[in-house]
């Protein structure tokens, strides 16, 4: 992993590191924020819902405690008035009570056989009172008030009102003694509904009241009509306390509480969908902010790293160019300051290298020039010595005529050598020069050789190195003339082949072995100590002046001939 990381380009590394660090930090802070906000929101939902639930329960408790208080008061009056045998007043009291407490539908007192003692109604009382559930409940536990589930009023025949019954075993006096009976108070369910409507539980928020047997007493939600409905099931499951539930795609906070003295449970379902939606919205928003930030960081780190790496890549390419020898292109970069400074430094370095290289080149040229002139200057004294030696020899033999001709030829020869400062001359001039030389040498060698020129007109005006032909001819004379044979022939031939001026010096001499040729080649190319100064001098001047294309080489056949060929590229003069 670390190695892979090391292999990354600077740009990628910057991009990866920045994006990763920012990403991780953002992720952590986002998660933390989310956690904080949501914990608070959840706590807020819970506490708010619980407060609302408490309020609702208190409303119901107040209302139902009132019923119990009424019952307790009635019990006391029942004792007092039955003791005084004043059932008429008791009846009046019952009637007065239902007039004051509008939601009380009916008050009735029965003995244990179900016979009516007093009631607030004139309607016909049902027969089977002892079988009514409220009666049985009151007898099953005589110490408490019993709150029945809602039903159609059943204490009277043909009851129509929906009521819940509050029943209790009570004492009354009859025939001088205390007896037990059952007090029934039927209460219209309207008030349960009115209380439910009073409370704002949000859209679809509702109240469910069940008894301890999980029988549905009341539901403010029309579609929840029995204990099988979802809300009732949830309430049954929670038993006590609250939690967040989903009802028909709505988030609701369900709270279950007891209503004091009634053995009823009340469940409030409060619509918290808006809050939970806000929660979801917040989550989305947080995720968006996270994504946008990470993307923004990724883009800006990419741009930033590009500003570093792009100029660096250009520098890199430029270095490749320089490796290939191109010092002329300047690198031009834009980017961060350091990179620009680096590029500038690089440019000045490459300029400096270029300057140094040119200087070295100039020095080389100067050196060659000096060498060239030195080589050229070697020719004359050597030749002069040989000629003067010949002339001395002629005059010793009183060949005055020949001395005269020799000196004329020598003077022509020298006039030409001195005449101009150019390094090259036309082939025509060089040939003329060699002709004078040959004339001198013929005198010296007493016409033991003949010579011929075979110069193509098309090469006559081509330039050749000054004094380059003469040493070849001199060599031909020295090595080619056989003293035992008169009239050895020397042929000087010049023509064009391809883009070269070819000059051949041919002599019918002894010739030489291939081994000897190789030796001479080695000598003139400087690989071996030289014996023949002339050939080597010419070869070196050719190379200095024309470069590697120019050549000098020897062909020979033993006892037949020797041919020295000079190969001069046309128009390839090296700058000197």
């Amino acid at each position: 992993m670390i190695n892979r990381f090391k292999d990354l380009s600077v740009g990628r590394a910057i991009f990866l590191v920045t994006t990763t660090i920012v990403g991780v930090i953002m992720l952590l802070s986002t998660a933390l924020t989310y956690q904080l906000i949501f914990a608070r929101t959840d706590a807020l939902i819970e506490s708010t819902s619980k407060e609302i639930n408490k309020q609702v329960v208190m409303n119901y408790e107040n209302y139902l405690s009132n019923v119990i208080n009424t019952s307790n008061s009635l019990q006391k009056y029942i004792l007092d008035l039955t003791k005084a045998n004043d059932t008429l007043n008791l009846e009046n009291l019952f009637i007065a009570t239902i007039n004051i407490e509008k939601n009380i539908e009916n008050i009735a007192l029965f003995d244990l056989s179900g016979r009516l003692i007093v009631s607030s109604t004139n309607e016909k009382i049902a027969h089977d009172i002892t079988e009514k559930s409220w009666f049985l409940a009151a007898r099953s536990n005589v110490d408490i008030h019993h709150f029945s589930s809602s039903h159609i009023e059943d204490v009277v025949i043909d009851g129509t009102t929906e009521v819940f019954s509050v029943s209790r075993s009570v004492y009354y006096y009859s025939e001088g003694g205390q007896k037990e009976g059952v007090l029934l108070i039927d209460i219209d369910t309207r008030n349960l509904k009115a209380l439910a409507i009073q409370t704002n539980l949000g859209s679809q928020g509702h109240i469910i009241i069940t008894n301890q047997g999980n029988e549905l007493i009341y539901s403010s939600l029309p579609e929840c009509s029995d204990e099988q409905c979802e809300s009732a099931q949830i309430a049954n499951e929670i038993v006590l306390g609250g939690r967040l539930v989903t009802l028909g795609n709505l988030a609701m906070f369900a709270n279950v509480n007891t209503i004091k003295y009634t053995r009823w449970n009340i469940a409030t379902f409060i619509n918290v969908d808006d809050i939970t939606n806000t929660k979801t919205d917040t989550l989305y928003r947080i995720i968006w902010i996270f994504l946008i930030t990470v993307i923004a960081i990724a883009i800006s780190s990419a741009v930033f790293s590009m500003r570093i790496t792009k100029p660096m890549n250009r520098l890199k390419e430029h270095i490749h160019l320089i490796q290939e020898g191109d010092f002329d292109t300047m690198v031009n970069v834009e980017g961060q300051r350091e990179v620009v400074v680096l590029a500038d430094a690089f440019n000045s370095m490459s300029n400096r290298i270029k300057g140094l290289m040119q200087k070295v080149l100039m020095e080389q040229v100067e050196k060659r020039k000096t060498h060239f002139i030195a080589l050229q200057n070697q020719i004359n004294p050597h030749f002069l010595y040989n000629t003067l030696d010949s002339i001395v020899w002629l005059s010793e033999n009183n060949r005055n005529k020949d001395v005269e001709r020799a000196i004329i030829a020598l003077s022509k020869f020298f006039r030409m050598s001195i005449s101009d400062q150019m390094n090259t001359v036309s082939l025509k001039d060089e040939v003329e020069h060699v002709r004078n030389y040959l004339l001198i040498q013929q005198i010296r060698y007493q016409h033991t050789f003949r010579f011929e020129f075979d110069i193509d007109e098309e090469v006559e005006n081509n330039f050749v190195l000054k004094l380059s032909l003469q040493p070849l001819v001199e060599n031909a004379i020295i090595h080619g003339i056989k003293p035992e044979e008169s009239f050895t022939k020397i042929v000087i031939r010049a023509f064009q082949r391809d883009s070269f001026t070819i000059v051949e010096v041919y002599n019918e001499g002894y010739g030489m072995t291939q081994q000897r040729i190789d030796e001479i080649h080695a000598m003139i190319r400087g690989e071996k100590e030289s014996e023949s100064m002339g050939l080597k001098n010419v070869y070196q001047r050719l190379r200095l002046y024309y470069g590697s294309q120019a050549d000098l080489y020897i062909e020979s056949e033993l006892d037949e001939y020797t041919k020295v060929t000079m190969k001069i590229p046309i128009g390839w003069e090296v700058l000197i």
Binding site: K50, K54, V57, M58, E61, I68, N69, S71, N72, S73, Q75, K76, L79, N141, D143, I144, H145, R168, Q212, V239, L240, G241, G242, V256, N257, T258, I259, K260, Y261, T262, R263, N265
Partner: protein
């Protein structure tokens, strides 16, 4: 979770000692003098093995429900509850059953049908009827243990003229005590005329007002004031002092029954202040609701339940596997 952190913290500081299990003690209302005393007695019983946190229900079942729900969710092994509304506890029992939390109820007895809902629910208390029977015995003592009655029968008609101060109408104890005290006297052959029953909600101030009213109605006819508890008895005494039924002639703060004017008032509970009033002769007698014994029983049972031990090892006798009944004691200064 928090506990583990605390434990870890403690480990760093002290070396982790085994933490006492924290058990909630729900009191229906700390404003109630009797419960205030009772709570202190229970807390005094606790030792190294148990830590009780008292939670005041402020006489609201809603508040108590909320606290109980919270503590059940904290996964405590046991709840000790003095319920606000004994009729509402079936929800608490169901909830505890779902969560496997054991419950000890005390002082206010749930309905038998609710107690039957769950095995691990217990009740520590005194039988309200028993207290009334003892109260009737005090009355019989007062009238000389003779159905013909002694001088305490002021009008000499052989009938006890009594007023009763009743607790909350419908309250189990109030109903039982009111009913049983009269029944016991009748069964024992005494003639009793209940001049009036006033509901004073177990409250001293309410009782004083009620007594004012009763004195106005019945005055000198009243031969004995029977109260469902001490607090109301004390309220009645306040009223009676104002109306001249107690005359501390020598101003020594005590009533000498032989020489000074007094009227018998009998309470139930045995509050500390009631004991003082008995000492000083204002209160004739009370039935000591042995909260000390109950407190001992509650703490001992709680420890067994927390440890998951067999409750048959309890030093109090258990009826029906769930009920621990603590006996009352008669207190008079005779």
């Amino acid at each position: 979770m928090k506990k583990y952190w605390l434990c870890l913290f403690a480990l760093v500081l002290l070396g982790c000692e085994v933490k006492k299990p924290e058990i909630p003690l729900f009191i229906y209302d700390m404003q109630d003098a009797y419960m205030f005393d009772f709570e202190a007695r229970i807390q005094n019983q606790t030792n190294e093995a148990i830590l009780l946190t008292t939670i005041d229900g402020q006489n609201s079942q809603i508040i108590q429900n909320e606290d109980i729900d919270r503590w059940i969710n904290k996964k405590v092994p046991l709840l000790i509850i003095n319920p606000v509304d004994r009729l509402s506890v079936y929800s608490i029992i169901e909830k505890a059953k779902k969560n496997g939390t054991k419950i000890i109820f005390f002082n206010r007895e749930p309905l038998a049908q609710d107690m039957a809902l769950y095995d691990s629910v217990f009740y520590v208390g005194a039988d309200a009827a028993e207290s009334a029977r003892l109260q009737a015995q005090i009355i019989m003592d007062l009238f000389g243990n003779d159905t013909k009655l002694n001088a305490a029968d002021k009008n000499g008609d052989g009938i006890i003229q009594a007023v009763i101060l009743k607790g909350e109408q419908g309250h189990q104890d109030a109903e039982a005590r009111t009913k049983v005290v009269v029944e016991t006297l009748i069964e024992s052959g005494y003639a009793i005329e209940v001049l009036d029953i006033s509901i004073a909600n177990f409250d001293r101030a309410t009782a004083k007002a009620a007594m004012d009213n009763l004195v106005a109605l019945h005055g000198q006819k009243i031969e004995v004031v029977i109260s469902n508890n001490d607090a109301m008895a004390l309220g009645a005494i306040e009223s009676l002092i104002e109306k001249g039924f107690f005359i501390d002639s020598d101003n020594n703060g005590e009533i000498d029954r032989l020489t000074e004017t007094w009227i018998p008032v009998i309470g139930i509970d045995g509050l500390d202040i009631a004991m003082e009033k008995i000492e000083s002769g204002f209160l004739y007698g009370t039935v000591f609701n042995d909260s000390q014994n109950m407190a001992e029983a509650i703490v001992e049972l709680a420890q067994l339940l927390i440890r998951g031990e067999d409750i048959s090892g309890l030093s109090f006798s258990i009826s029906d596997g769930k009920y621990i009944w603590i006996n009352y004691k008669k207190i008079t200064n005779q």
